[in-house]
Amino acid sequence: MTRLVRRRRRPARSGEERLTDSARLVDERLGASPLLKAAMKYLFPDHWSFLLGEIALYSFLVLVATGIFLTFFFEPSTAPTIYDGSYTPLVGAQVSEAYASTVDISFDVPAGLLMRQAHHWAALVFVVAIVLHLMRVFFTGAFRKPRDINWLIGVTLVTCALIEGFLGYSLPDDLLSGMGLAIAYGVALSIPAIGGQLAVLLWDGSFPGSADFIGRMYIVHVLLLPVTIAVLITAHLAIIVRQKHSQFPGPGRREDNVIGTPMWPAYALRALGMMLATAALLFLLGGLVQINPIWQYGPYQPYLGTNGAQPDWYMGWLIGALRLMPGFDVTVGDYTLIPNPFWGGVLFPTVVFGVLYAWPAIERRIAKDYRRHDLLDRPRDAPLRTAFGAAFFTWIAVIFVAGAADRLLVDIGFPYESQVWYFRVLAIALPIPIFFLVRRICRELRASEVRPLRAWTGTLVRRRPDGSFEELGDGSGTSPDSPRRAPGRRA
């Protein structure tokens, strides 16, 4: 009898019932259903510019994945070794373990070059996405209360990403990385009063430092900074979820609501697609577009240098500042107090990051606006902010381009000395007209009726057969998406 009961087929159970059972298994232990429900219902307002931060997040995931692969093969040591891998031009050369292991990753570890180059490309894209995301947040006023706290975390993330990237390409101990570290050493030495102590402390001796130095950079690069970045990203996202996304103004969109696509199913699938698309692009770049071929640069020695050497792009603004700063030291008699690298290497980034950190407070004071803002501005809605931002980023961009002055000399023969003068003049003179021009454009756009980013807010009419018109309502408040597709939107 029992056998019969056992063998009787159970009634077919639907997918929903089975999922309910699975949820029960979890809930009996964690009570996670309320959280899952909230997560699936979380709303994402749609705008292409909101994807920039996502791309940064996905690049970070690719960085972590490819970076873990690389740690299994990289040897963070300056101990000398004789290279005997499959890159024949270097065979027999005395190089450091760090350099040899990086060349081995590139030539002798299966898929090693793909992972190494994808890691490097991901680092470049990571910083690009962060910087563009920062500009998006700036120009739309998304840094205003209550998101000012997330702005501070974001600017901190930029600094962490820059240092992390610099340490990353400094690890292989090739000629390019060594030249970059020499400059970093010069900048560290230039810090008033404590520079000498600090540089000797960091490098464990004078440059190029003790055998421990690469190990120090390595632990910061693979543990301290990645964990810091991960924690900051987690806080960044948790705060967003708590406050819910900001949104651009539009039909039905108010300060006190959010209109958007729910996480499940549409947004989760799109975000997954975006993440995979980012990864696909990075792997294609990593395998098809060569980057940082250290076997061509050769190993670093402090007495070697090459003309036209360029760092990763995100260091360009600092190189440019070091180039443009006139030869001026603070001196007393025959003694140097503040050497020249301080101005471009320390003071300039301090000013830039200082302005970025302080901007939410500065704007609150100027605009006397202490309210909470959850609706975004279009850039024209805040002419002063947009004009200031345009001038500020122009200033940095000119200095950034000046960082490539040596390439302009080597590639097209543009004399270096005159370039430096042109860029100095541009860096000082260009931001001022940009400020007034952009402020004017913002005011004109605001005064006109051209509002391409805002949804149409007129009245829908239909023509009757007899030639008269029938009103169909103004379209606002009924549906968040149908009026956006209304004909004559740009009329």
């Binding site: 540089a199 001796g205 440059f207 947004y267 989760a268 697609g273 975006m274 402090p302 070091l322 020249n340």
Partner: protein, 294 residues
């Protein structure tokens, strides 16, 4: 918002095809990896596999599943009653405690002391007087100049307008103060101060190779090729183009460097080899707080 989701058979078909393609490319990647294919093929197969998955995700998210948007209220972050309650609870916790200020003051003192005790051991990391380390150089009077193979450098290896990198015999070439640049210039370009007149036999001069601006190797040498328009012979750092006029004891004539390159006095031995006739004339490498400029 109540519009039912529009079905998209075409979207579903694309998703299925993309998923199948992703699977196929993934298998291709594994096979290529197993047969040790080159980086380009690995990248294309992996990129297409992940890219096809991405396509499936985007098409499914944008055309196949429900596209309806929703509205929800934004949370109020401020609850004044709750804030008062929190403040009240904190104050309540301290009720009945007399001499509260004394306790707080003592705690602050203890905190400062403990912090100092925790931070103090950091000093064991720290260097003492660093300037000796920063200035360290193996050059002394009588040290022979050698090339990167350790062979002595003779005057016959140089001609007017040529240059080379040299190291001290027996020194560590990686030490920042070790590498020097040796240049030979025509006598007409020599414009040395009186005390350095005999530092440049036959117009041969030696300078520290480490730029005094930011520590790069001064790896470029500019020598006049056409007298009427050329500039004077100079060493140039490729990092930020600090330019040092060698005939004038490497005076800075362009760029951000704040000090000349330290010069090494030279003399020529009877057998023609080059030997240091003294110490370097100043502190090598980038400047720091309190270093002498010359």
């Amino acid at each position: 918002m109540s519009r039912p989701p529009a079905r998209s058979p075409r979207g579903e078909l694309i998703v299925v095809c993309a998923l199948l393609a992703a699977g196929a490319f993934s298998v291709a990647f594994v096979l290529l990896y197993a047969f040790d294919a080159n980086t380009q093929l690995l990248a294309v197969s992996l990129g297409l596999a992940v890219g096809a998955l991405a396509l499936a995700g985007v098409v499914a998210g944008k055309w196949v599943v429900d596209q309806r948007k929703a509205v929800e209220a934004r949370p109020r972050l401020v609850d004044e009653a709750l804030e008062r309650e929190v403040a009240g609870t904190i104050v309540q916790g301290a009720e009945g405690v007399s001499r509260r200020r004394l306790i707080v003051g003592a705690a602050a003192a203890a905190g400062a002391g403990v912090t100092a005790a925790a931070v103090a051991p950091l000093a064991s990391l720290g260097p003492g007087d660093v300037s000796a380390q920063l200035k360290a150089t193996p050059w002394r009077a009588g040290v022979t100049l050698v090339d990167d193979n350790g062979d002595p450098i003779g005057v016959d290896q140089l001609e007017v307008g040529s240059w080379l990198t040299a190291f001290p015999r027996g020194g560590d070439p990686r030490q920042l103060g070790a590498s020097i640049v040796v240049v030979q210039v025509a006598e007409e370009y020599l414009d040395l101060p009186p005390e350095r007149r005999d530092w440049a036999p036959r117009g041969i001069m030696a300078f520290s190779k480490i730029c005094t601006h930011a520590g790069c190797a001064v790896a470029l040498f500019r020598y006049p090729t056409y007298e009427p328009t050329s500039q004077r012979p100079a060493l140039v750092c490729p990092c930020h183009y600090s330019t040092f006029d060698v005939g004038r004891s490497s005076k800075v004539v362009f760029g951000p460097a704040g000090r000349p390159l330290p010069q090494l006095p030279l003399r020529i031995e009877p057998d023609g080899t080059l030997v240091a006739a003294g110490d370097l004339s100043g502190a090598i490498g980038p400047a720091w707080w309190g270093v002498r400029r010359s």
